[in-house]
C-alpha cells in the first residue's frame, strides 16, 4: 500500500492551526478533567451505555448545541469575510469549505439532532410509555449519528473539508474537480449518521403506533407526537434515497464508476435529482416537528386547547405528501422544459395552502386566550410573522420564470434562513426552554432568557433582511469576495453586525443554562407551566421508569382534564416495572463505524476491511446476547415516588 502522509495534512492558514490547537486543547481538557474528577466510570455507566430515551435525548441536544456553535463560527467567518469589499480573511478555497460545512452541520448535525433529541425526551412521555419501542436500537441511532458528525468535523484538520457546497453538485464534486478527500468525507460521514437517522425513523414509528397508553387513540395524541409520527414516516421514505445517492457518489469517487461523470454515459443531473428528492423532504423533517412544538407551546400559554386539531393533522399529512413532489424547484434553470417546471411550480406553491391553514390555526388558538409571555411563548409568537416572510418569499421563488432572476442569489440565502431559523432553530430553542424543567427539575431564568430572545430576534433580521436586497441587486451566493464598485459593501456590513448580535444572543442563552443551574429554585410539582399533556403528569426530574402507573387516557389533553375536570389518570396500583439494561455495544459499534468511514475516506483498503469485519462482529455479538432486562420491585418504585413527592400517585 502506498502510504502517503501528505494526504492527511492541511496546509497554510493560521486559522486551521488554530482549529487544530483548539481541538487538541479541548480533548486534552476533557480527558484530564475526567481523570482528575474520577468520572470515567460515571461517564461509561450513566451515559455512554445508557438506553434511557431521556438520557439519549439529552446527549442529542448537547451534541446539537456544540454543533450550533461550530456551524455558527463558520457563519461568522463567512460574514466577516464578506463584510467589506476585497477582504483577505478567507481565501476562495476556505470560503468554499466553510459554507459547505456550515450548511451540512447546521442542517444535519444541528437541526436534525436537536429535533431528534427533543422527540426522544418528549414523545414517550406524551404517549404515556415507559420507553421507546427499541431502546437499544435508539442507542445505536445516537452513536451512529454522533460518530458520523465527528467524522465530518475532523475533516477540517485532517485531509481537508468538503468544498462543493452542501448540495455537492456534480461534476464539481467529482474527483476531477474536487481532488481532495473532502467529498469522500461528505459521502461517508453523512452515510453513517444517515443510517442512524433511518433507525430512529423505524423506532419512533413503532413507538408511536404501538406503545401508546390505553385510551390514547390516534386522534387524541398531542400535536407534537403527531408531527413526529409524520416526520418519521418521511424519514423512512426519504433517507434511503440519500443512502443510494451517497453510495453512488462514493463509488464514483473511490472506485471510478460513471454515475455522475461527464464521459462514458454518466449523468451529472442525476445527482441533483437524487439529492433533492431527499433534500426537500429533509427540510420538512426539520420543520414539521417545529410546527408540533409551537402547537404545544401556543396552546399551553394561551390556556386553550389547540384550535383546529383535525385540520392541523390533515395539513401535516398533505405537506408530507407534497414534500416528495417538489424537488425540481431547486434547479428550474437547468433546462428541463416548461412542462416540468410548470408542474413543480404548482406543487411548490400548493404547499403554501396547508401551511397557511396551520398559521391561521395558531392565530385562532391565540384569539381570546389568556396569554402569558414566557420565553418559549415569545419565540413562538415571533416565529409566526418571521416565518411568514420566509414563506412568502418562498412562493416568489416557486414561480419558475421569476426564479431565473433569483436563482443562486443572496435572495435565496435570505429566504431559506428566514424559513429555517424561525422554523427550526427558534422552535428547538422554544422547546428547549419549555421542556427543560421537565428534564432537570428547574426552569431557565426568564429574565436572562428574554434578553437572549431580543438579541436573537432583532439580530436575526439585521443579519438576513439585507440579504434580500443584496440578492435583488445581483449579489450571487457562495461568492467569497466582491469589489467596492458593486456597492454591496454597506449592506453586507450591516449583515455582519447582525451575525455578531446573533452570536451574542446565543452566548447569553448558554450563560442562562449555567446561571439557572446554580441559582434557580427547584420546581415542586413537575408542572411549572400549568400544561395540558401527559409529560407533565409525572415528576421532574423524570424517574427512570417515567410513570409509576401507566396512565389511562380518556380525552385529548388528558392532564388538563385530570386537573380541571377531575378525570382520574392513574387508577391501577403500583406493580413491579420492567426495564431494559444498559449496553456498551452501540457505542462500540459507533466507534468501529467511525474507523471504517475514516479508512474509506483515505482509501486505506486493508484497515477498512478489518473495520468492516469489526462491524459484523459487533452485530453478531448483539444478536447472540440474551438480555431480558430487569425488574424494579414495587416497593422500590413506591419509595422513589415518595421521595420525589408532591407528585401524582
Amino acid at each position: 500500500m502506498n502510504f502517503d502522509l501528505e494526504k492527511f495534512k492541511v496546509h497554510g492558514e493560521p486559522l486551521i492551526y488554530g482549529a487544530m490547537i483548539s481541538i487538541a486543547l479541548v480533548s486534552i481538557g476533557i480527558v484530564v478533567g475526567l481523570t482528575v474528577f474520577r468520572k470515567w466510570g460515571w461517564l461509561w455507566r450513566e451515559w455512554l451505555t445508557t438506553v434511557d430515551h431521556k438520557r439519549i435525548g439529552v446527549m442529542y441536544i448537547l451534541a446539537a448545541l456544540l454543533m450550533l456553535f461550530r456551524g455558527g463560527i463558520d457563519a461568522l467567518m463567512m460574514r466577516l469575510q464578506t463584510a467589506a469589499p476585497d477582504m483577505k480573511f478567507l481565501d476562495a478555497q476556505h470560503y468554499n469549505e466553510v459554507f459547505t460545512t456550515h450548511g451540512l452541520i447546521m442542517i444535519l448535525f444541528m437541526a436534525m439532532p436537536f429535533i431528534i433529541g427533543l422527540m426522544n425526551v418528549v414523545v414517550p412521555l406524551q404517549i404515556g410509555a415507559r420507553d421507546v419501542a427499541f431502546p437499544r436500537l435508539n442507542a445505536v441511532s445516537f452513536w451512529l449519528f454522533f460518530f458520523g458528525a465527528m467524522l465530518l468535523n475532523i475533516s477540517f484538520v485532517i485531509g481537508g473539508s468538503p468544498d462543493a457546497g452542501w448540495s455537492a453538485y456534480f461534476p464539481l464534486a467529482s474527483l476531477e474537480f474536487s481532488p481532495t478527500v473532502g467529498n469522500n468525507y461528505y459521502s461517508l460521514a453523512l452515510q453513517i449518521s444517515g443510517i442512524g437517522t433511518l433507525m430512529t425513523g423505524v423506532n419512533f414509528i413503532v413507538t408511536i403506533l404501538k406503545m401508546r397508553a390505553p385510551g390514547m387513540k390516534l386522534m387524541r395524541m398531542p400535536m407534537f407526537t403527531w408531527s413526529v409520527l409524520i416526520t418519521n414516516v418521511i424519514i423512512v421514505f426519504a433517507f434511503p434515497v440519500l443512502t443510494v445517492a451517497l453510495a453512488l457518489m462514493m463509488f464514483d469517487r473511490l472506485f471510478g464508476s460513471q454515475f455522475f461523470t461527464m464521459a462514458n454515459g454518466g449523468m451529472d443531473m442525476l445527482w441533483a435529482n437524487l439529492f433533492w428528492v431527499w433534500g426537500h423532504p429533509e427540510v420538512y423533517i426539520v420543520i414539521l416537528p417545529a410546527f408540533g412544538i409551537y402547537s404545544e407551546i401556543i396552546a399551553t400559554f394561551s390556556k386553550k386547547n389547540l384550535y383546529g386539531y383535525t385540520s392541523m393533522v390533515a395539513s401535516m399529512l398533505i405537506i408530507s405528501l407534497l414534500s416528495f413532489i417538489v424537488w425540481a424547484h431547486h434547479f428550474y434553470t437547468m433546462g428541463q422544459g416548461v412542462l416540468v417546471n410548470g408542474f413543480f411550480s404548482i406543487t411548490t406553491m400548493a404547499i403554501a395552502v396547508p401551511t397557511g391553514v396551520k398559521i391561521f390555526n395558531w392565530l385562532f388558538t391565540l384569539r381570546k386566550g389568556r396569554i402569558s409571555f414566557t420565553t418559549p411563548m415569545l419565540y413562538s409568537l415571533a416565529f409566526i410573522p418571521i416565518f411568514t416572510i420566509g414563506g412568502v418569499t418562498g412562493v416568489m421563488l416557486a414561480m419558475a420564470s421569476a426564479d431565473y432572476m433569483y436563482h443562486n442569489t443572496m435572495f435565496l440565502v435570505a429566504h431559506f434562513h428566514y424559513v429555517l431559523i424561525p422554523g427550526a432553530v427558534f422552535a428547538v430553542i422554544a422547546g428547549f426552554h419549555y421542556w427543560f424543567p421537565k428534564v432537570f427539575g428547574f426552569r431557565l431564568n426568564e429574565r436572562i432568557g428574554k434578553h437572549a430572545f431580543w438579541w436573537i430576534i432583532i439580530s436575526f433580521n439585521v443579519a438576513f433582511f439585507p440579504l434580500f436586497i443584496l440578492g435583488l441587486k445581483g449579489m450571487t451566493r457562495r461568492m467569497y469576495t466582491y469589489s467596492a464598485e458593486t456597492g454591496f459593501g454597506p449592506l453586507n456590513m450591516i449583515s455582519f453586525a447582525g451575525a455578531l448580535g446573533l452570536a451574542i444572543g446565543f452566548v447569553i442563552l448558554v450563560y442562562n443554562i449555567y446561571w439557572s443551574t446554580r441559582y434557580m429554585p427547584r420546581d415542586e410539582n413537575g408542572d411549572p407551566w400549568d400544561a395540558r399533556t401527559l409529560e407533565w403528569a409525572t415528576h421532574s426530574p423524570i424517574p427512570e421508569y417515567n410513570f409509576a402507573v401507566v396512565p389511562k387516557v380518556k380525552s385529548r389533553d388528558p392532564f388538563w382534564a385530570m386537573k380541571h375536570d377531575k378525570q382520574p389518570l392513574f387508577e391501577e396500583p403500583i406493580t413491579k416495572i420492567h426495564m431494559p439494561s444498559n449496553t456498551g455495544k452501540p457505542f462500540v459499534l459507533g466507534v468501529v463505524f467511525f474507523f471504517l468511514g475514516f479508512f474509506l475516506v483515505f482509501s486505506m483498503w486493508i484497515p477498512a476491511i478489518v473495520a468492516g469485519v469489526g462491524v459484523l462482529i459487533v452485530l453478531a455479538a448483539m444478536s447472540f446476547e440474551r438480555d431480558h432486562g430487569f425488574y424494579i420491585p414495587a416497593d422500590k418504585v413506591i419509595k422513589t415516588e415518595k421521595k420525589l413527592g408532591g407528585g401524582t400517585v
Binding site: 419501542a133 427499541f134 433511518l198 425513523g201 423505524v202 423506532n203 414509528i205 413503532v206 403506533l209 404501538k210 406503545m211 423512512v236 421514505f237 426519504a238 433517507f239 434511503p240 434515497v241 443512502t243 443510494v244 445517492a245 453510495a247 453512488l248 463509488f251 472506485f255 471510478g256 464508476s257 460513471q258 454515475f259 461523470t261 464521459a263 462514458n264 454515459g265 454518466g266 449523468m267 442525476l270 437524487l274 428528492v277 459484523l616 453478531a620 444478536s623 447472540f624 440474551r626 431480558h628
Partner: protein, 198 residues
C-alpha cells in the same frame, strides 16, 4: 415476560410483535432503497458509451439457475417457519440449512457472472450502464451475503437454545427478509435481464 399463547410463538410477547412490525417498517425503507436503485438503472440503461449493452452481455442460462435457486429457497424458508410453528426443531434446521445453501449457490453463480463480465471487458468503470448494473446487482447480492451470515447466526442460536420465543421471532423476521430479497430478484430478473435480452 408475559407470553400470549393465543398468538403464534414469534408474536408471543409485546416486544416481539413490535419487532415484527418494526421490521415491516424497515422493509418499507428497503423498498424505497431498491426503487431508487432501479430508477437509477432505468435512467442509465441506454448509456453504455463504448461498452457492451445488456443484450450483448447477458446470458440467460446462469440467470435462470440463480432465479431457480432463490425462488426455491424462498419456499424452503417458508417450510422452515412452518416447521417452527409445529416445534419440529430438526425439520426446521434442515429447511433453514437448505435455504442458506441455496443462497450460497446463488452467490456463487452471481460472482462467476461478475467475473465473466469483467473478463469480457465490462467493468464498473466502463460505462454508466455498467456502473448502475453492478451497483444494483451488487446491492442485492450484498443483501443476500448479509442474509447468509445473519441466517447462519440464527441457526447456531436455534441449535443451542431450541425453538423459543426469541429464536422463533428472529427466524420469522429472517424469513420476511429472505422473501423480500426474492421479490427484489424477480424485479431484477424481469426488468434487468429479460428486458435487457429483448
Amino acid at each position: 415476560m408475559k407470553v400470549d399463547t393465543s398468538k403464534p410463538l414469534e408474536y408471543g410477547t409485546h416486544e416481539n410483535s413490535n419487532r415484527i412490525f418494526g421490521f415491516w417498517v424497515f422493509l418499507g425503507a428497503e423498498i424505497a432503497l431498491f426503487a431508487t436503485l432501479f430508477t437509477v438503472f432505468f435512467v442509465l440503461v441506454n448509456r453504455f458509451a463504448d461498452g457492451p449493452s445488456g443484450s450483448e452481455l447477458f446470458e440467460i442460462g446462469p440467470v435462470l439457475i440463480e432465479t431457480f435457486l432463490l425462488l426455491t429457497s424462498s419456499f424452503t424458508i417458508g417450510l422452515a417457519v412452518h416447521a417452527m410453528r409445529h416445534q419440529y426443531k430438526r425439520a426446521m434446521l434442515v429447511f433453514f440449512g437448505i435455504t442458506l445453501l441455496m443462497g450460497l449457490g446463488f452467490l456463487g453463480i452471481e460472482i462467476t457472472e461478475f467475473v465473466t463480465y469483467v473478463h469480457e471487458g465490462a467493468t464498473l468503470q466502463t460505462s454508466a450502464f455498467l456502473s448502475s448494473l453492478f451497483v444494483l446487482l451488487g446491492t442485492h447480492g450484498a443483501h443476500v451475503t448479509f442474509g447468509f451470515l445473519w441466517g447462519a447466526a440464527i441457526m447456531i442460536q436455534l441449535m443451542r437454545e431450541g425453538i423459543n420465543p426469541a429464536t422463533a421471532n428472529k427466524s420469522f423476521i429472517f424469513s420476511l427478509y429472505w422473501h423480500f430479497l426474492d421479490v427484489v430478484w424477480i424485479f431484477i430478473f424481469s426488468f434487468v435481464y429479460l428486458k435487457g435480452l429483448m
